[in-house]
Symmetry: D2
């Protein structure tokens, strides 16, 4: 931590800060500038509440230096974690997770899954529990949806990723899914994250729409530090003033997260843009930026989808996206 | 819903949209403009997935007209709900909820509570379960914290408001708290909201830091429609580019929420600004904007607080804030 | 400036930073922590480009400590500047600047001005040059508008504030206006700011919709340091994801700006909210937060206004706002 | 425009809106829904001030349907404009504009230019007039900088792009530059845009950091409709809450702008990220998303750059970026 004193802070005020730092078992280094005095902390500042130091008289700012996460940091784990999902080694080879926003009736869902598999996707996605802004919108088929997802795996061999909304559902969702998906609304549901850290299945952790990169990686650390190292990050857009797109897909977060943390990073251009016509260019851009794969909303009849039709592409479009992305990936190598 | 066709959309495309709308059991009204054709839906559009209509060929935009909430709307409930918390009728008279960010040891917490009560606050706040960005930060005293809160009520007579982070904790938190607090990170935890709707205790629902007014009111509807009408809204700042303050306290949301919905609205200038020196002016501003009360972080020694010291004021400052706010409220009446 | 080295930075890298700082004629103080080394600069860092230091090998972050402004700082000018506009001492007493968004025909404008004067406003506002997002929208009456504004002053005695869009118009606008208004789109038009610093008339400087508090005060410094101390700040809302309101009026910027700088601060709740029904509550809130006055869009027939009718209030509403604000101000004193 | 009446609006209120629309010479189509009445306008709504209609009694919302721009729209100009800059046909082939943030002394600038040319860039960029947040930062070499830029063109043959900050400088900057650059701070300086529309040199128009896609294209329309069709758009990042990067580079704006407008679109990953380590991945991502080229900050010694060193790459890095981007572009074709 660096503590910046106000210009005009008294010697007593400076000393009070130093004393407080030492009370916490850390060392303080003082630099007197022409306008301000700056005090540096020596030790693991994560144990100190920097807001309380900021509340001391004469302090202008107390700035953290260390990250809010430890274990997912490249400093601790220099190598990218590889996570096995079905036949795919996520983190090593490109992965494409595709499917409808919501699980629909069994026939439709199986038909979509088959088309998606043929188009080259390796993992099937579909929501059984649907977090919806309005209580009056369709909330998902729930347990019935999970049953249909199991059927998809049985029939197509594709592993399943599906959203979990509450720690109480870990057991039942785990019986049907191969990968737990934490949606952006639950990225800061720390009870859920902590308990997923005690499971042995991979977790796909979407970035919250108002989460900074550091907060996202700290959320991953909640899972990782409990022993579950199978955390796959997924950038899905942040909330900004721009309303042409549903969210603003922050592709710079992909190389940044890969540089700071030891985890694979996917992109979700469907939610990230909310517009089917932008899914292909942004898919290619994500892979060019270094993404380890994509999560995409795909439906055989987007205009018949039970939710999110506007951002859904067809299996044919999916095939083109996968082809283009693989070629871009080959260049990177 | 209003569907705007692309300029150059064919008659068949227009007809396909009309057919689709009628399939959903609604009526369609068509306006042909010089550049575009516009189709209006007649019926309750909340039952239709507007994204799927947006996915039809030739459609440029499909814009919802109805709000994503129903029951909390002033159209349904013209009168503001009054919620009894201890001796205070929230929604009728100004309420001040105050206390430390985190529940601390019993002695300190009791001392703070007594000072706060004398300063004029009617409800005690304090966090036992602390959602923290970093897994390495202090996570709250949990059950031990709840026990201390019960002691505070016993000793001071003040009702307790404290945060709940997971639906599984409804029982235990309800044994100690008079008001459940849903923090900004859980505003979109729909499992939690749904289950709180089945309880009989008031819920203080903070606005998510990336939630629009409509999304916030829709979250309230999750609780309200299940039968629990005791929902108190609390504006606590949204996330913007400005970093002088911790968040940007959106005071316009107070008169807006009061105008759109039937619920009382508080403000939290402590989290809303993150700076003790801004708490008093923003408290007064919130009441002048029509707030039904305030939630404030108060500690006898802010610089010793276990968390959030920078935004914490003293009981003396609290007394001044309460006095000033009461005088502003008197003018309003 | 504080330079934070990467964990693992070599001694040579640390030395290179120190050498670079000394090359700039400043001193460096080094603190070696358990994870990182921190280097503090001693001297006026504004002369150093901190991005170049951030580019040195082994540097993780280079954080500025000093503000980007000097002369408007309370450290340099402890007393609030008082600015005379007609009979009003802005900074000492509440000022209300009101009028239509655009100057309209002479008769309408005079009728509005007379009604506004009677309602208690002291300064007339109206746009002759209108910056409009679309080149196809009404761009203002320009010179003809300025002539009408002069007529308003002659007939009502009210001083005039009107927007200037380009440095080339300083002469002609100055012939008709008593206060130059710099709109939010021009807050970073440094050529204009520099030249307004060479005039002797007050400047009302609106905050840019993506400007931080520091950037806004730095813009004021462009005017102030050239010798024109008559700078009136005006908060008018920032751009956020919320779309219920046109902008998000950041009232915390009012006490913050008053605390950091020596200048009076107004609020513009008309642009800040974009909704006539929110103008009164946000006007009162602004004054309760410490605003030195308000700028308001007022028209005798808002639904006939040539622009911005949705956020325009009537002279009767203005009278109520002024009365309520004066009573709130009296409490503050 | 679509006018949505409040639920409960009276027939007289609906009729008043219809009358007002007809007064403007347009037609109104009425749809009565179960909860609301919706009125569609038939005609060119750009001539109507929709805020004034929104101010009529009983109106809930008035939503524009048409874009705020006309001439740059693909509806008017289906083909992408090709703009000749030196030997490059911008819009047809990839263009790389590179150089230091600020023009420095002649020797350094020439040395950088030569290295950049060899690395494969076709256009030289460098700032002579520097818009800086703080009046105390280096403001550029101004006329002396322009002279050095001319020298660069003479010695290397590379065309020059440089920033213009004020309409009064059009003449002098035009004598030295081949392309006028409008920086993000001036995207809404409509006086400057209008006058650049009367010149015959290409204009590189950066997106404002709080500008929506529509506002950016409307700004381009200010130039285009005056006769200068040589407008090159450049996405350079928007302002969001994320502070890991300097701005958030909104790559989805590239395919979106290319789809809506007839203009070539570049990306500036230097300002867009503010971090040298993210420039390469985001350069590749931009080209994969369909960018027509890049603008990059390059310096032979980034840590010696007079400004923006942290986001500046070396000529060697530039060569790798150009190579990778060309290979990605080849795949696209």
């Amino acid at each position: 931590m660096v503590v910046v004193m106000k210009s005009g802070a008294s010697d007593q005020q400076v000393q009070a800060v130093i004393d407080r730092i030492r009370d916490c078992g850390m060392e303080a280094h003082v630099s007197k500038g022409t306008e301000r005095t700056i005090i540096g902390l020596v030790g693991d500042e994560r144990q100190v509440d920097f807001d309380s130091i900021a509340a001391l008289a004469g302090v202008e700012q107390a700035m953290p230096i260390l990250r809010p996460y430890k274990y997912v940091s490249r400093n601790v784990h220099p190598e990218t974690v590889t996570i096995q999902v079905g036949d795919v080694s996520v983190g090593k080879e490109l992965v494409f997770m595709a499917g409808p926003c919501s699980v629909e009736d069994e026939d439709t869902t199986l038909r979509i899954a088959e088309a998606i598999r043929k188009a080259g996707a390796q993992v099937f996605r579909g929501g059984a529990y649907k977090p919806r802004t309005s209580p009056w919108s369709f909330q998902g088929l729930r347990e019935e949806g999970l049953r249909i997802l199991s059927k998809v795996r049985d029939e197509t061999g594709m592993p399943i990723v599906t959203e979990i909304m509450d720690a109480a559902d870990i057991q039942i969702v785990g019986e049907h899914a191969d990968v737990y998906q934490v949606g952006m609304r639950n990225m800061r549901n720390y009870t859920l994250l902590n308990e997923l850290g005690n499971t042995s299945k991979p977790v796909l952790l979407k970035r919250g729409d108002s989460a900074t990169l550091e907060e996202w990686l700290a959320a991953a650390d909640y899972i990782f530090r409990n022993g579950n190292h199978g955390v796959i990050l997924c950038e899905r857009g942040i909330r900004t003033f721009e309303n042409y797109t549903r969210n603003t897909l922050d592709l710079s977060a992909i190389p940044a997260a890969r540089s700071e943390a030891c985890l694979p990073v996917l992109a979700d251009p469907s939610h990230g843009t909310g517009r089917a016509d932008l899914v292909e260019p942004m898919s290619k851009a994500a892979v060019a930026a270094g993404a380890d794969g994509l999560m995409l909303e795909v439906h055989t009849e987007p205009q018949r989808a039970w939710s999110d039709g506007r951002q859904t592409v067809t299996p044919e479009a999916l095939r083109n996206i996968i082809d283009a992305c693989r070629r871009i990936r080959d260049i990177q190598a």
